[in-house]
């Protein structure tokens, strides 16, 4: 690592103020640190300042709070705290699974929800200092002519990364709202944003896949009461069952039968909502025929690369498994 100053914020407001007063790129925000330390070790990021908000983690009892609008998860709640929370398990089984399946117990004990949502992609070209790829300001996506077995089959632009977060698809399926803070006029001001609008495939691959200004930070995530119920599910398919990244994943929420939400993970640069499939299954009984139709619709726009055609099959399979699991209910 290149030397940096380590600044610990004692409040969101203090952190936001420092961000507001800093130039883009100088300050790297760190929560649990799982992704940040990885990037520092590789040398991908060389900030002047690490702004540490890990210490803002709430007490375990406050990690998830029940309110009038639903369940609010603190940005710094760990994945373990979320998936062990009784209300999350009961009312948002997809979110419980989406925060229990990824990584390892050690990582989940440290990784924060906000950090998980804002982690950088795991593309092996992007993650290696040896490749100056599009996402690092270079002139090509090495995956195109390279080994792209784990790359995108849907929605890719010039850059073929896949969204790494396991939590994001299930939060999106459950209609989560993000509360985002920023320091303006001497105080912390807030905006809220549906998580579905948070993720965008950037036109410039160097930009993030999420809509967060360099001076902004996520404060908490609310799961609306309307999405609660036992009929949500998250399924992921991995080559190895002990710590592996998903080849394909899918979150489904059927609690609002007329307005289901279905999101694929690990197949596109962002969590990939399937509006056509949602329309197909809305209000319908899930028959084998309908599921087969849903599978076809899900992958109709797939554009596999040279080595990842199997992910198209898996996207269909994982959709089916998640649909059936959500239908059956937790």
């Amino acid at each position: 690592m290149i030397p940096f100053e380590f600044v610990t914020a004692r409040s969101f407001e203090a952190a936001a103020q420092l961000l507001a007063e800093s130039r883009r790129g100088d300050v790297l925000l760190k929560a649990g640190g799982i992704d940040v330390v990885d990037r520092l070790k590789e040398g991908l990021d060389r900030p002047k300042v690490i702004l540490n908000i890990r210490g803002l983690r709430p007490a375990r009892a406050d990690a998830v709070r029940k309110g009038d609008n639903g369940l609010t998860i603190h940005a710094l709640a760990t994945l373990t705290e979320i998936n062990e929370n009784e209300a999350v398990r009961t009312d948002y089984p997809a979110v419980a699974a989406g925060t229990r399946k990824p990584a390892t117990p050690q990582v989940r004990n440290v990784a924060s929800l906000a950090g998980n949502l804002c982690q950088k992609p795991r593309c092996w070209y992007y993650r290696s200092l040896d490749f100056r790829c599009l996402k690092k300001g270079g002139d090509r996506c090495y995956a195109v002519n390279g080994d792209n077995r784990y790359h995108a089959v849907l929605g890719a632009g010039a850059c073929h990364i896949v969204a790494p977060s396991s939590a994001a698809p299930s939060l999106m399926a459950c209609g989560a709202m993000l509360r985002i803070g920023r320091y303006v006029d001497g105080k912390l001001s807030e905006r809220t944003l549906p998580i579905a609008d948070f993720y965008r495939v950037p036109s410039n691959p160097q930009d993030d896949e999420f809509q967060l200004g360099h001076d902004e930070l996520i404060l908490d995530v609310t799961l609306p009461q309307s999405a609660a119920g036992r009929h949500s599910a998250y399924v992921e398919l991995k080559e190895k069952q002990s710590f592996d990244w998903a080849m394909a994943s899918c979150a489904v929420n059927l609690n609002e039968r007329a307005a289901p939400r279905i999101v694929l993970g690990a197949v596109a640069p962002i969590p990939w909502r399937l509006p056509k499939v949602e329309q197909l299954v809305a209000g319908q009984k899930l028959t084998d025929t309908l599921i087969a139709e849903a599978r076809r619709a899900a992958i109709a726009d797939a554009r596999p690369m040279t080595n990842n055609g199997y992910k198209v099959t898996l996207a269909g399979a994982v959709l089916e498994h998640a649909l059936r699991a959500a239908d059956e209910g937790a």
Partner: protein
């Protein structure tokens, strides 16, 4: 640098006490450098901010109940600080990226990766390492159970497992086996001890659970209950590996390498790298580099932070050439098509004739991947050249080799050089010399007249410390009505780095009739191959056992029936009977793929054998007046348990209990023992140990005038002898040598998800001939570990090369996938002992050989489609199913 320790006096450098080792003066040096760069900068900002660094900053850490003020750099991980400033060796750096659990500690009671935790983040929390779990000499129940159940081999991953399991039991005192697998799913064990670890974790909760396979193996083993003698050191983190050696004034170095398959250096910022405070030298050589991982220079520095910063600031830019990465294209351009034409004479002529008139002709091509050793302890060396004499610590599986190499590298007489390796965190064939790491450490230590430590990072470890070569294996045979092959052609293509070594054992073990065999070694732009656990065999037998099943399928006969016809080995023929019954062979789908539903079950079989040549060793015994013995051998323990074997064999020979015996290994100062290669260690050391024991008995009888026949007479005679102690040395003695084979047959059961192609190996019955098993638990562990590495090879592992640049794309433990606890099948090791032979036969390598073939055959049996390429990924299973036209 308030708390950094002052440099210790040079005279203490060779002090091998724990204290002398662990109080790292390297850190003191680092502290000096950092202090020079920036003043301490800890202050409260106006806006609720606390600032640390850049540069050294004091913090208070509470570790294992004691608070201590230390000076850290903001870049320091908690792992660095625990190891360098708290004298702790339990947490290990293995993958350095949170993928393996080797560095596990508890932070406020919760298990975390200390390699991914900045030390500053741990300030104010309670840190508990494995060292904090035992109460004095009293082990934590988890540690005690791991010792009893032999839930460890090399021991490098063990502290991480102990912490993960302790943390689980603190939250859930009555976990199920699945809970344990989940809790350990972030831990990797390269030796493959998961089943025994899980068993031990359950035993630690008070569940009555047998240690290993008592029913099948207890009766035939010399020692059935006693675990390994050095387990307590390993479960407490006290076992000291080369990476744990810290000496006063020690500096650090790192080998630089070309990351692409073919490249030249375009530019590099040498000045910026050299200007990093604490850097001793930066060497970068300009030339054309021909493989990914090829060394191109090195950096030496007083601290690891300086080393790392200099590496980044050096910023080497490469002109990338065209690498050789496609074996098929390379073979085509250099050697023509696969297969080559059969010769018109000799075997070729016979084969051509047989193919012309055969009832069946079966022609197949199999491919295997490049596998890396991925030892959890990377290649590491510490050299201390002290002018007139020198000392080296090397992570090695050949103490006898490194001593001479160390003397050469230090330019000293051998009598002036001592070398050590008491514990080694895995070798698997990749650690037979001091290697580039040791040579550079020796050279730099001589040059800078201070100790130098080199520990490979995980990437270099994957790139250039050896591999099991990949292969392409072409087979075409003429077979009769019953599937029995009459004659055929085999062409093996070895896929490895410069220098070759890629031959595969094909054909092997079965009778194939006349074979026209050719072999071509290709030099790809990848790191050199090195022997890897049964070199050439797993890849060969994957193809051979797959092909035998394909012959059987073509002829419409049961694969086991065909094997009985073409396998000349009498032991294996009996193993087929027993194993088939234990796995439930009769219940396998007939024909292949005959099951129904999404999940399909299948059963397959694979075989191996191992030659048992005579091996030499010397074993010394010091006998003391109080009746205790020291048994000394210069060989090393790579996880097989050679100290345990020495103690058990000597105890058996003298009919005394092993509590009287202390076994010592891993030093150039002991009588020379064999390198651990070719599975020779146990079978070489055991006869020499018996010989030494007999010499000790004779000498004691002479000195005491007493007959020595059991423990009581032994102790009485020792007390009576006139001397304080005496020593004898034993060597090879034919009377104690067993020269049979190490046959193996494995049956694997799998479950294939036909929707996704995901394969789960559910059960493996592993029959393993091994002469007279000495220690049941360690012998079972070898077999289980072989199976686990075999399954990992069959399903997951692969060195993935970028087709354009030749770079290895997965040089980590995250995408270089090693089987973990949740992927581990139930394994039933059956030790096959015959007669009352005292001979010890090889079991280190043979159990890794049959697994991939057995798994591949089980998959084909389950789905009626065959994957002929390793690893058998979901993508390949789906492709095979699609080719067959989907599942019924």
């Amino acid at each position: 640098m308030s708390s950094a320790r002052p440099p210790r006096d040079r005279d203490t450098a060779c002090d091998v006490s724990r204290r002398g080792f662990l109080k790292g003066a390297g850190i003191a040096a680092a502290g000096t450098v950092l202090a020079a760069r920036s003043a301490l900068a800890q202050s409260d900002g106006p806006a609720g901010l606390t600032r640390h660094g850049p540069g050294p900053t004091p913090i208070e850490l509470t570790v294992n109940g004691a608070s201590q003020r230390v000076t850290v750099d903001p870049r320091s991980t908690l792992l660095d600080v625990l190891r360098d400033q708290f004298d702790l060796t339990g947490p290990k750096e293995v993958c350095a990226r949170g993928a393996c659990g080797g560095c596990n500690v508890m932070l406020d009671g919760v298990v975390v990766n200390s390699c991914m935790t900045l030390a500053l983040d741990a300030a104010g929390s309670k840190v508990t390492t494995v060292e904090g779990l035992a109460a004095g000499e009293k082990l934590d129940p988890v540690q005690a159970a791991l010792c009893r159940h032999d839930g460890l081999q090399c021991g490098y991953c063990t502290p991480g497992f102990v912490v993960a399991i302790r943390s689980l039991l603190d939250r859930n005192p009555k976990p199920t086996a699945d809970d344990v697998r989940d809790a350990c799913s972030g831990n990797i064990c390269r030796c493959g001890t998961y089943p025994k670890v899980i068993e031990a974790a359950l035993a630690a909760t008070g569940v009555q659970i047998a240690a290993g396979n008592v029913a099948d193996n207890a009766a035939v083993c010399m020692e059935s209950e006693g675990g390994r003698v050095d387990a307590p050191q390993k479960v407490t983190g006290r076992a000291r590996y080369t990476t744990d050696v810290n000496l006063p004034r020690m500096a650090f170095a790192q080998i630089l390498y070309c990351p692409f398959g073919r490249a030249t250096i375009k530019s590099a910022d040498r000045d910026a790298a050299a200007a990093v405070p604490g850097v001793l030298e930066v060497v970068l050589n300009e030339k054309e580099y021909k493989y990914c991982g090829q060394p191109c220079g090195h950096i030496a520095a007083e601290s690891r932070h300086a080393l790392d910063e200099a590496r980044l600031r050096l910023n080497v830019q490469w002109e990338i050439g065209t690498p050789v990465v496609d074996p098929v294209a390379e073979h085509q351009s250099k050697h023509g098509p696969i297969p080559p034409e059969l010769k018109k004479s000799g075997a070729g002529e016979k084969v051509t004739a047989a193919l012309g008139e055969a009832r069946h002709v079966v022609e197949r091509v199999y491919q295997t991947q490049i596998q890396t050793h991925a030892c959890l302890e990377p290649h590491a060396a510490v050299a201390d050249h002290r002018g007139e004499e020198g000392e080296m610590w090397v992570s090695t599986q050949a103490n006898i080799v490194i001593h001479g190499e160390a003397a050469n590298a230090m330019k000293l007489d051998r009598s002036k050089v001592r070398t050590h390796c008491e514990f080694v965190g895995g070798g698997f064939g990749s650690k037979f010399g001091i290697d580039a790491e040791g040579r550079l450490a020796a050279e730099l230590s001589r040059k800078f007249t201070r100790p130098i430590k080199i520990v490979n990072n995980r990437k270099r470890e994957h790139l250039d410390t050896g591999c099991r070569p990949g292969s392409i294996q072409y087979m075409k045979f003429a077979a009769g009505e019953d599937g029995v092959p009459a004659a055929g052609q085999v062409h093996v293509v070895g896929v490895s780095g410069l220098g070759g070594g890629g031959d595969a054992s094909n054909p092997d073990h079965y009778e194939f009739g006349d074979v026209a065999r050719t072999f071509t070694d290709l030099d790809l732009s990848v790191g050199h191959s090195r022997p890897m656990r049964a070199p050439g065999k797993p890849q060969g037998m994957f193809a051979v056992d797959s092909f035998v099943d394909e012959l059987a399928e073509t002829a419409g006969v049961d694969p086991l029936v065909l094997r009985r016809s073409i396998d000349p080995n009498r032991t294996r023929k009996r193993m087929y009977e027993i194993g088939a019954e234990r796995i439930g062979w009769a219940s396998r789908p007939k024909p292949d793929g005959a099951g129904s539903g999404r999940f399909r079950r299948g059963i397959g079989v694979g075989v191996s054998n191992w030659g048992n040549g005579q091996g030499n060793a010397s074993v010394g015994i010091h006998v003391h007046r109080d009746g205790t013995l020291k048994v000394l051998c210069g060989t090393q323990d790579i996880g097989t348990g050679v100290k345990t074997l020495l103690a058990d064999v000597v105890a058996d020979q003298l009919k005394i209990d092993r509590g009287l015996i202390t076994a010592l290994t891993g030093s150039s100062e002991y009588p020379p023992g064999p390198p651990s290669g070719g599975s020779v260690t146990s079978r070489s050391v055991a006869p020499a140990a018996r010989d030494a024991a007999e010499k000790a008995r004779a000498k004691l009888a002479e000195l005491s005038g007493m007959e020595v026949s059991d423990r009581d007479s032994w102790v009485a005679a020792c007390r009576k002898m006139g001397e304080e102690s005496f020593s004898v040395v034993g060597s090879f003695n034919k009377a104690y040598w067993g020269k049979g084979g190490s046959e193996a047959v494995q049956f694997a059961e799998v479950e294939v998800d036909t929707h996704t192609g995901i394969v789960r190996v559910t059960k493996v019955v592993a029959l393993q001939a091994c002469g007279r098993p000495v220690n049941r638990l360690t012998a079972e562990n070898q077999v289980i570990g072989g199976v686990i590495q075999g399954v990992s090879y069959a399903l997951f592992e692969e060195k993935i090369l970028d087709p354009v640049t030749g770079a290895m794309l997965n040089p980590n433990l995250e995408q270089y996938k090693i089987l973990g606890p949740r992927d581990c099948p139930e394994i039933i090791p059956i030790l096959w002992a015959e007669g009352d032979d005292l001979g010890v036969r090889s079991i280190g390598e043979p159990p890794v050989v049959p697994t991939a073939g057995a798994v591949a055959n089980a998959i084909a049996n389950a789905i009626g489609a065959r994957v002929r390429s390793l690893p058998i990924s979901p993508a390949k299973v789906l492709a095979a199913l699609a080719e067959r036209g989907g599942v019924a």
